[in-house]
Amino acid sequence: MFTTNDVLETINMVEREHLDIRTVTMGISLLPCIRATAKETAAEVYDTVCKKAENIVKVTQELSTEYGIPIVNKRVSITPASIICAPFASEAAKIGKALDDAAKTVGVDFLGGYSALVHKGMADYERTFISTIPEVLASTERLCSSVNVGSSKSGINMDAVSLMGKIVKETAQKTEKTGGGGCAKLVVFCNAVEDNPFMAGAFHGVGESGTVINVGVSGPGVVQHAIEAIPTANLSDLAEMIKRTAFKITRAGQLIAREAAKRLNAEFGIVDLSLAPTPARGDSVAQILEEMGLESVGTHGTTACLAMLNDAVKKGGVMASSRVGGLSGAFIPVSEDIGMIEAVEKGSLCIDKLEAMTAVCSVGLDMIAVPGDTPAETVSAIIADEAAIGMINNKTTAVRVIPAPGKVVGDSVDFGGLLGRAPIMPVHKQSAAKFIARGGLIPAPIHSNKN
């Protein structure tokens, strides 16, 4: 039985420390929707999403009031669209539009899965599908896209990496009005996970069942507050405290996930415990690292602090839930975290340090704005570096960079809402074009041969 302190602690977490369920994401398999033509498939896709996710907004609102925990986002993820569109890849945009319309009808804020998995090779239909991404992201509102270009098991598909550099650039140009905002909806992965509830990288893997509820829990503020309470504790005690806090947060997520699945006639998928920051002060992963004892995030010691944080969060999460999945760890998106934004502005955080940080946390280079004149080959090289970190370390890495059109270092670009504001970060000027032009496959590492 809980005590008075337990009750007050929970209420405090919600009211003062921004504890929330960041997202309830319904994964829907669209494989049964494939028809002979794009038109028929689009109609079927629209109907399926509208029918299955019909009540997601209503149910999450009910859960939020009953349990007293805010549920910030309601989302849908679908089978990678390149598979659905394989017979008519050049008309994939029609499916994209149907998905965007369905997202608006059911009232979810994002729908993820305009995606392709090309980590080993790229079929013609996949290449055609990927070429539709910039136009589709420019002409839709809520659709998110991702492309998996590498895995620990298969290596890195450098042809896809090369192509994605161009696609990112083209997406930025096509969404120039919003500062290249289309790129905020496009993620390039290595080791993409099939049950990730977080956007923009969510898709519903083909190994998943028909309809699944995955929940993403957040709570950087809660962790920061827990650390504040023990200012002189050594790092073992600090890790223990973070673990306990992560446990509590995950339990809240698991409860909501199970209940949401029951009410929405779906299976309970996973709980993803990720410390996902928002631009609000007190809801920042950077501030947690600074609370640990860094003057500013990005300085020496940052990677060690983040490694400890990420691991402690995972341990607490795994203990708390029977099914932990997704990315589960700490997110370090620059534009979505006030502490990161400030660190970039005062010059303590650079892209190279962020890259090192991605080796020990759950994602990758996320929501980073770079100068608009950054060559496509440089974007590809950034993607290749991240994919290499993911491939060798058996972890998911991702790149979500925005080459903001017309912007230079010193400017910043505002995407609004949860996507926040990104100061333009400098990239290396020396070219990697010759390396990227080689193409081919970077072979999988020796330690992937476990069979």
Partner: protein
């Protein structure tokens, strides 16, 4: 269904009377109650039986929040399970 009602705010006369009266009018039975004053702040936690559907709990929660505004206190009504889940292994 059991829920937890939490009332927090600056101490003054008649808080318990107002809240318990409000709950009684809605057929909500109080099973357990604890109240304390922390640094001039009133904190009361009640375990109640809500003889109603899930929808009823949502409505009660909204009504109590409104009452809280009226009497200058913060009132939450939450399903008991959230506390069990978060605070016990």
């Amino acid at each position: 269904m059991r829920a937890v009602v939490t009332v927090v705010g600056k101490d003054k006369t008649g808080i318990i009377a107002k809240v318990s009266g409000f709950l009684a009018e809605r057929g909500v039975n109080i099973l357990d109650i604890s109240q304390t004053i922390l640094d001039e702040y009133f904190a009361m936690i009640m375990l109640v039986d809500v003889n109603a559907s899930a929808e009823g709990l949502s409505r009660l929660s909204e009504e109590c929040a409104a009452l809280g505004k009226e009497i200058g206190m913060s009132i939450h009504v939450q399903h008991e399970e959230i506390f069990n889940a978060m605070h016990s292994v």
